[in-house]
Symmetry: C2
Subunit: 333 residues, 2 copies
Amino acid sequence: MTGHDVAAHAGVSQSTVSLVLSGNPKARIADETRERVIEAARELGYRPNLLARGLVQRRSFALGIVVPELDNPFFTEVVSGAERVAGEAGYGVLLADSGQIPAAEHVMRLRERQVDGVILAGVPVETMPDEALADANVVVVDEPTGRYPGVASDATGAGRKAAEHLLSLGHRSLAFMGPADPSYTFRMRERGFVQALREAGCAITSPLLRRAPASVAGGDRAMAALLALEVPPTGLFCANDLMALGALKACAAAGVRVPSELSIVGCDDIEMARYVTPELTTVMVPARGLGARAARLLLLTLDGRDTGALSGKPLEVEFVSRQTTAPPPRREP
Amino acid sequence: MTGHDVAAHAGVSQSTVSLVLSGNPKARIADETRERVIEAARELGYRPNLLARGLVQRRSFALGIVVPELDNPFFTEVVSGAERVAGEAGYGVLLADSGQIPAAEHVMRLRERQVDGVILAGVPVETMPDEALADANVVVVDEPTGRYPGVASDATGAGRKAAEHLLSLGHRSLAFMGPADPSYTFRMRERGFVQALREAGCAITSPLLRRAPASVAGGDRAMAALLALEVPPTGLFCANDLMALGALKACAAAGVRVPSELSIVGCDDIEMARYVTPELTTVMVPARGLGARAARLLLLTLDGRDTGALSGKPLEVEFVSRQTTAPPPRREP
DNA sequence: TTGTAAGCGTTATCAT
DNA sequence: ATGATAACGCTTACAA
């Protein structure tokens, strides 16, 4: 089924078919002819070949999105948000998970497929060879770089809000857990938290600052270490909800009651945060919104009309009070 | 950067470049020439345009995969598994989430993009217009149809294993919750469960068979209804883990202790099953394996060498004993 | 208003 | 062993 077939069926030339069906604005086609073509296309069930179109127009109307791991619900949401807006704009979405294949390689492959742009989420952009991204349309999610446009959430604000909440509850002995890798967002969450504490005259000591992978397993381990301390903290902020879930698990295993003995605040507000018991107090980061915004920004850029409105200020994060925080236990007499 | 540029740089014709770089087996190229071409390509950072290749070869080396919702961790895993094997085979993966746009429409779009095949997961294939799938390479995940090849898990086996476990613990008053829609897999899980009970002389009465969406919210609601019964069940099997998580939540809210007062078995073994407290006893369904297998089957089909080995028997499911099941409470005297 | 024709960047068939 | 050349299915001047 090609445009030629439709043309033959409608008794017109192939280019007329193209003119009609591609909705080219500067195409003056007789209404009668247009009808015939559309009818013929419908009858034959004609669908244009987007590879051919892409070849001549030099754009594929497809976006690539690369994430480090689809398992992480945060990235799943980013992808989901991006997919939604891309889909609604008629764009295809090529998904690349850099679990097995390095991100740079994925980007090269996407570019071979002539994607019009690439969304990078959770990918350490700085570590990628320049050539991979050279003159490509790139939007980076949640990792501000000077080099590429990006969309981000207010990461320091997230840490700050967690600190303020814990502080206002009366906690003074606070801990943080986060990954060792230099991920911008995690670093900023940490910084916001630590700074807010310091401003309140409540410094965090190094044994209370745990490094572990930003996963449930990592949170579990880090919590175990915290619990083994002479003087465990009464409050904890985790770099993401996954870690918080792990911490929760470790507490359950150790018989530590949350929130009466220990308050825990996560970050992201993944769906599961609402589904565990006790429900996780956290800071909501609009993952789906980030993905959607990234896609929107990319699409605007492609149309050459990125007004800067989208890449502007970071998306707001919002403190969500649930069941894992409470005032610290009274000191044993 | 096109093949022509490389040709010019290497002092050969464009077709020679293609011959060399595409690794065409029946290409006899002088070693010296080959070297020159490869070197030129490297220097210029040449990457073939896959749209052009796809146009002439009439295959895009891309797969489409459509899922009902990326939020559902089960489908996320399916996608992840499929993406992995597709990626390793050099195939691109076009992702389509039928949240906003109907699955049939998605399939049409994917076909416009000339995907070589489509994986349908969690999509009600029977309800799709025939034309959407007509002479396309399709693999259906976990929903056997006579019309298309598919990969499936042993859904009745899953229900059966849940029943056997609960029965062996001594439960006799059992409930089931699952979605009302006629999804094959959920139906089979239910059937396996109910049949195994019946065989054990332990019929399930209709108030103990709850219909609700296969989500956490659905499970929560269904559990509330179950708890409101005169004589609540002592054991419960949920059509999937999401529902089980909802049930767990409802129990926590109602102060019903799991597993001492009520035993719960989920199905799927999503990652979260391990992370809630108490950890969810469930039946493991290899979601990632299903996705991987679906992709493998599709790739084999494309190469025209589907030996039938993959579409054969359903993938085994495995009972996973964790913390949400125990013997029923002793009868009140 | 519509048709002709020149590409888009490849692959693949043929001469040479 | 290599180079012309004809597709692939479409868009887009330009002609008619």
